[in-house]
Amino acid sequence: MTRVLLDPTNERSVLQRSRVERPASLHGKTIGLLDISKPRGDVFLNRIEQRLTGLGATVLRFKKPTFTKPAPVDLRHEIATRCEMVIEALAD
């Protein structure tokens, strides 16, 4: 006798997206730095900003309201429209 079970999952297929090509140079690029609001994340990002600026990049700083929740959709949209690349900082 055929045994049939019901799928307990959300039945979604994972969307495959290719990565953006690695730029040959950061000179002239706009890079977003997203602080997730963990303690001392700013220490790490300040240093990264120095390094990136030294390489000729323009750095824009962003911050999540809280590290415990995903970035609000408006913030994600703003980063996507204003930046060519983004670095998200984990910290502790």
């Binding site: 045994r3 049939v4 019901l6 799928d7 307990p8 809280t66 415990t68 929740k69």
Partner: protein, 505 residues
């Protein structure tokens, strides 16, 4: 090997294994339309029923369409229609035979079950009908509600309401292993979610299978009643547990509770489900002996079903979005009821604004429980001192305000407060008073410990918990001068708030 089946058109399911079509299962029998009864009188009988045999001769005295459930030749001379697949009986909710129905313009307007002479005379319009028969005889159970047939009939006639993808197992497949292989278990075997079991589970709620319960993080996917029921079957729930699972999911999938963060944190927390109301006793939830421990089906399966939905619908899996460093055993399931009957206090749900006769679940982002021992205190002040001293250690004795805590007072401890006339409000106020801590004890470096609050708070006095950050529940076995504390996670808008939802059948 298993196959994946997807419905391409009504009636057909295409099963695909390793990329090729291997079987088409005809499910057309599952798409039965509700048969329309002919106008006039309709009688449903079965031969294996003494009352049906008793009234059979009467069928010659009036015009009626007769359906027979078991013997196509019964009743003799009545020209019966054989309800071989019981479709007529099922769709017209025949629970007893004989049933006499009067139909006008395709709609039922009158019905009687068994033999009640006055009813039959009125409905048929034959004033002398059955005058020699007893005034009343009860009928027999309809074959369409026979316990041995019920599951298969439900699949046959209601299976079409289930929209989920079908997984067809090959003969040699072990269904337990298939479910492990698909990654849909929590590490323990699950009950295979067959159509019959899922349909039976859906009997536990009045909500439609395609009704959306919530949007589940982290994948932000809508979960329907049907998907909850499938996971509840896997968890081992009974149908009466389903409304509790649904309510807990409604509470968990709120911005306030923030299940995404509860999963993603490296701390060892998960949803702790606290059940309140008279329904807790009706569905067998445990609030007493071994309240957090093994041995109770309702506690374990309700909490487990919630976690399986988060895993299978929300996509929250350990090592994926779930980044807990240690986790805790309660992340398999952590659900219990408050002992309201034996409590000297108002319940948690009442303190959160619900009536005492309403069933609710409250979800709290908590770690595992830890025992608070005081076997000597006999007055409330001494016992409050002990409890406060233990609560101070939640997560770290020098960390304050940022974490809530759930205090589960055992009956023998609660009795000390109750006999002294302390209310819930009094006890919580006394505990908060005892947990006002000088900043000099809390700042970083104090006591030789680097952990603590920033130095600029040194001259302040700080509460261990925010004013509503201590939740009180009464539960546990009747013997043992113990209580339990369950530490929380980042609280308030920054993290997770406890959420209470009403349980609706």
């Amino acid at each position: 090997m298993h196959q994946e089946c997807r419905s391409e058109s009504p009636g057909d399911v295409t099963c695909v294994a390793a990329g090729y079509v291997s079987a088409v299962v005809d499910l057309s029998e599952r798409h039965h339309q509700r048969p329309i009864l002919p106008d006039g009188l309709v009688v449903i009988v079965k031969q294996d029923c003494e009352t049906c045999r008793m009234i059979a001769p009467l069928l010659a005295e009036f015009a009626a369409t007769v359906y027979t459930q078991d013997d196509p030749t019964f009743p003799e001379g009545a020209d019966p229609i054989f309800d071989a697949d019981l479709a007529v009986s099922w769709h017209h909710s025949i629970e007893t035979v004989p049933t006499l129905i009067r139909v006008v313009d395709g709609h039922e307007v009158e019905r009687t079950v068994g033999w009640l002479r006055s009813d039959w005379q009125r409905i048929t319009g034959v004033d002398t009908l059955g005058e020699r028969l007893p005034v009343m005889r009860p009928g027999c159970g309809s074959l369409s509600v026979d316990p041995n047939l019920l599951d298969s009939l439900r699949v046959r006639f209601s299976g079409g309401v289930l929209r989920s993808r079908r997984l067809e197992l090959a003969d040699l497949d072990d269904e337990m292993e298939v479910l492990f292989d698909r990654g849909v278990t929590d590490g323990l075997p699950v009950t295979p979610p067959t159509e019959a079991r899922v349909l039976r589970m859906l009997e536990g709620t009045t909500r439609a299978p395609d009704d959306v319960v919530a949007i589940v993080a982290p994948d932000l996917v809508e979960v329907t009643i049907e998907k909850v029921a499938i996971n509840a079957v896997m968890a081992g729930c009974r149908p009466e547990h389903l409304p509790w699972v649904i309510a807990a999911l409604e509470a968990v999938c709120t911005d306030e509770f923030n299940i995404h963060g509860v999963l993603a944190t490296t701390m060892p927390v998960g949803p702790v489900v606290i059940c309140n109301g008279p329904g807790t006793r009706a569905v067998g939830l445990n609030s007493g002996v071994n309240v957090f421990g093994q041995g109770n089906r309702a506690n374990h399966t309700i909490g487990r079903a919630v976690q399986l939905v988060v895993r299978n619908i929300g996509g929250g899996r350990p090592g994926g979005v779930d980044r807990a460093a240690h986790g805790n055993p309660g992340k398999l399931s952590f659900c219990f009821a408050e002992d309201e009957v034996g409590s000297p206090f108002t319940s948690l749900a009442v303190s959160r604004g619900f009536a005492a006769n309403v069933d609710t679940v409250t979800v709290f982002a908590g770690e595992g429980p830890r025992c608070i021992v005081d076997q000597l205190a006999r007055d409330p002040d001494q016992l409050a001192n002990t409890i406060a001293a233990c609560l101070r250690t939640a997560h770290h004795p020098k960390l304050v305000i940022g974490y809530d805590c759930l205090l589960v007072l055992g009956p023998e401890h609660a009795r000390v407060f109750g006999e002294a006339g302390w209310t819930r409000e009094r006890l919580l106020a006394e505990l908060h008073d005892r947990l006002q801590i000088p900043g000099r004890e809390l700042v970083r470096g104090a006591g030789g410990m680097a952990e603590g609050v920033p130095e600029y708070l040194v001259d302040l006095t700080l509460g261990k918990f925010r004013p509503d950050g201590l939740l009180l529940v009464h539960a546990g076995g009747g013997a043992g001068l113990f209580s339990a504390m369950i530490g929380g996670w980042a609280n308030g808008d920054l993290g997770s708030r406890p959420v209470t939802r009403r349980v609706v059948r």
